[in-house]
């Protein structure tokens, strides 16, 4: 399910990057950035139905969330996890199909974009209600244990706003009561839609929540890829080894609007000067070049390859048929005999 080595023949220098999967991770970051910029331009061109919600600025932490997952693991990505979804194995074509309304996307036009799942690699389809996914991941892990599976973990993400829902609390707590191998990556991007931290919570730092649930807590600068790989990779490893549930809190700044309809003009200028407010994609690229882990030519080639992949996915999806109401199987449940007499629109 995962590409196991840096693709495209990346030439690593003698002075290796700090994490063996650093360059592979960066490629997912780059792919995500290029893909989401394409999405944004399609959105501006009126070619996308529904909202576009990007993970701009969150590519490092999100990639780290997807990168360490193995076959049999459970992944519960949220709206800003394009990078993690890709790193965990969702093909670019599936997300493109979903955004462009192809009937062949995994949600078949029934649900959209950021709600999509990709069961092939254990990726769940979130509902909007923030925090609701955590207990679902816990339930999957309980079931795997009951079925006798081994060596699996579950990883899911949550925003600093979503941490304030009751569902998050109940989900976090039941995970440690059930002693399941859960990694919860909380991304404090300092805004929940337009709302800053001081109207979301009033603890010194969110990682202080960890002891209250019997979790191990870790903090990480979400703009530093190496640190994200270390902390999230480490948390995954500890969970897999039978450790308690892990909470990793990443700090960064959301570098886009809440969605592409939002100009984020409420973000004050000062905050953008914080060290954790940097853009992880160019920062990582700069470091890679400085350290000579890749040369400029290779990076250029990556960009070209990714752009081609993206264009191809878009073209494919655009050629595909949209869902058609008259062919739709309007049935909310799977058991035919249990479908209630239809009292339908227009019938």
């Amino acid at each position: 399910m995962l590409q196991t080595a840096t693709r495209a023949g990346a030439k690593t220098s003698k002075k290796d990057p700090p994490h063996e999967r650093y360059l592979e991770a960066f490629r997912w970051m780059l792919q995500t950035r290029i893909f989401e910029e394409k999405l944004t331009s399609l959105y501006r061109g009126g070619l996308i139905t529904g909202g576009v919600y990007v993970g701009r600025g969150q590519e490092a932490v999100s990639t780290a969330c997807g990168l360490f997952l193995q076959k049999g693991d459970v992944f519960g990505p949220l709206i800003r996890d394009q990078a993690g979804r890709a790193a965990a194995g969702e093909p670019l074509l599936n997300v493109t199909r979903t955004y462009l309304g192809s009937r062949q996307g995994s949600m078949r036009g029934r649900d959209g974009n950021i709600h999509r799942g990709w069961p092939e690699t254990g990726q769940l389809a979130m509902i909007s209600h923030l925090g609701s996914l955590i207990s679902v991941v816990v339930g999957k892990l309980m079931a795997k244990r009951m079925k006798g599976e081994k060596n699996f973990i579950g990883l899911t993400t949550i925003g600093e706003g979503g941490m304030q829902t009751g569902a998050t609390h109940e989900g976090m707590n039941i995970a440690s009561v059930e002693k399941v191998p859960l990694v919860l990556v909380a991304v404090n991007n300092h805004f929940a839609y337009s709302t800053p931290n001081d109207r979301q919570f009033a603890c010194a730092q969110l990682v202080d929540r960890a002891p209250g649930y019997g979790y191990e807590g870790h903090e990480v600068d979400g703009t530093k890829l190496a640190d994200c790989l270390d902390e999230i990779g480490g948390a995954v490893e500890r969970a897999r080894a039978g450790g308690p549930p892990q909470l990793v809190v990443a700090s960064l700044l959301r570098l886009a609007g809440h969605g592409e309809h939002d100009d984020a003009s409420y973000v004050p200028a000062e905050i953008k000067k914080e060290s954790w407010a940097q853009d992880c994609v160019p920062a990582t690229e700069k470091l890679i070049l400085e350290k000579g882990w890749l040369d400029a030519a290779t990076l250029k080639q990556w960009r070209a390859e990714i752009s081609a992949e993206v264009e191809k996915a878009v073209e494919t999806a655009q050629r595909e048929a949209a869902p058609v109401a008259s062919e739709e199987d309007w049935c909310a449940i799977s058991t035919r005999g249990m479908v209630d007499a239809p009292v339908l629109a227009g019938e």
Binding site: M107, D111, H129, V136, G139, S334
Partner: protein, 322 residues
């Protein structure tokens, strides 16, 4: 040997645990020697170690984990301590379990047991019947067994269904209702049952009110009036066909439900008969529900808050006089 409605629920769970290794029970205080607030799981934790699990007081997460486990191939049965507390799990039930199959094509076979309905002195938060809310939203099957036999077979069938089932068991029937033995046969979920044939009036109802209706039918029979009593058994799907056939026979319809008056099963039944069987009706249909207030704690108030044989009889008399 005789079996109560409550014992039937316990036996159905024992049967399921024995026969289907995918089944586990999840709820507050259901494990250990204790076996649940109403003892519906008494003895099961000992007999099936690791498969009857106590949960924290976290209804949202209880159902959330069940959804995850169900998508992973298990068949969880979640016990709410009282139906009333399922309000906390409602988001997971309606928006997560109820939409899962339509959205993802992955079935979500959870069963949620709701100890429902009024008993005296239980008050506004331990007496509710929530079937209407769960039926209004798409994606759920909602069953309301009224007999010992149905309590047994419908719970077994609920777990077999590949979709989320809300199993509304009535607390008043737990001890009040007895059968000679567990049933051998079953009527499938989705089919209503004519529990007493009649010719003059159809009373369509479900759950505990079936027994109030039967009492009325018996009383009227003495004076030559034959009331047909239809037990819906499941209110979603709702067996419109059987209801219409009954109204075709009697020409008169009274719907009785224990829950609140606005909307709900009685409104739905009347709407279906009025729209699809208008010409079968010889008189205006009627309905009786609980009053439109919270369910009062004091028995003097409670008995007057919900429908009962007396109020049903009075209404029946008026319809028959039309």
């Amino acid at each position: 040997m005789s079996v109560t409605y409550l014992e039937a629920i316990r036996e159905a769970q024992a049967h399921l645990l024995r026969e289907d290794e995918r089944v586990y029970l999840y709820g507050q205080d259901i494990a250990g020697k204790f076996g649940g607030a109403f003892k519906a799981t008494k003895g099961l934790a000992e007999k099936f170690p690791g498969r009857v699990l106590n949960t924290p007081i976290s209804e949202d997460a209880m159902v959330g984990t069940a959804i995850g486990a169900a998508m992973e191939g298990m068949r969880p049965i979640v016990e709410m301590q009282f139906a009333d507390f399922s309000s906390i799990a409602l988001n997971q039930i309606l928006n997560n379990a109820g939409t899962q199959f339509f959205r993802t094509n992955i079935p979500c076979p959870i069963t949620v047991r709701l100890p429902s309905g009024g008993t005296k002195g239980s008050g506004p938060f331990h007496s509710q019947s929530m079937e209407a809310i769960y039926s209004h939203y798409p994606g759920l099957v909602v069953v309301t067994p009224a007999t010992v036999e149905d309590a047994y077979t419908m719970l077994i069938d609920a777990v077999a269904i590949d979709d989320p089932v809300i199993y509304c068991e009535h607390k008043y029937l737990y001890y009040h209702l007895k059968a000679d033995a567990l049933p051998k046969d079953r009527l499938p979920i989705g089919k209503a049952r004519i529990v007493r044939p009649g010719r003059d009036l159809s009373i369509v109802t479900y759950s505990a009110m079936v027994h109030e209706a039967l009492a009325v039918a018996k009383e009227f029979s003495a004076s030559g009036v034959e009331i047909e009593v239809v037990d819906l058994r499941s209110i979603k799907p709702l067996d419109t066909e059987t209801v219409l056939a009954s109204v075709a026979r009697t020409g008169r319809l009274l719907c009785v439900g224990e829950s609140f008056p606005w909307g709900g099963a009685t409104a739905e039944v009347i709407a279906r008969v009025a729209t699809e069987g208008f010409h079968l009706l010889d008189a205006a249909p009627a309905r009786i529900n609980a009053r439109d207030t919270p369910i009062p704690y004091h028995p003097n108030l409670w008995v007057d808050h919900r429908p009962n044989a007396k109020s049903i009889a009075a209404k029946a008399r008026r319809i028959l006089a039309e």
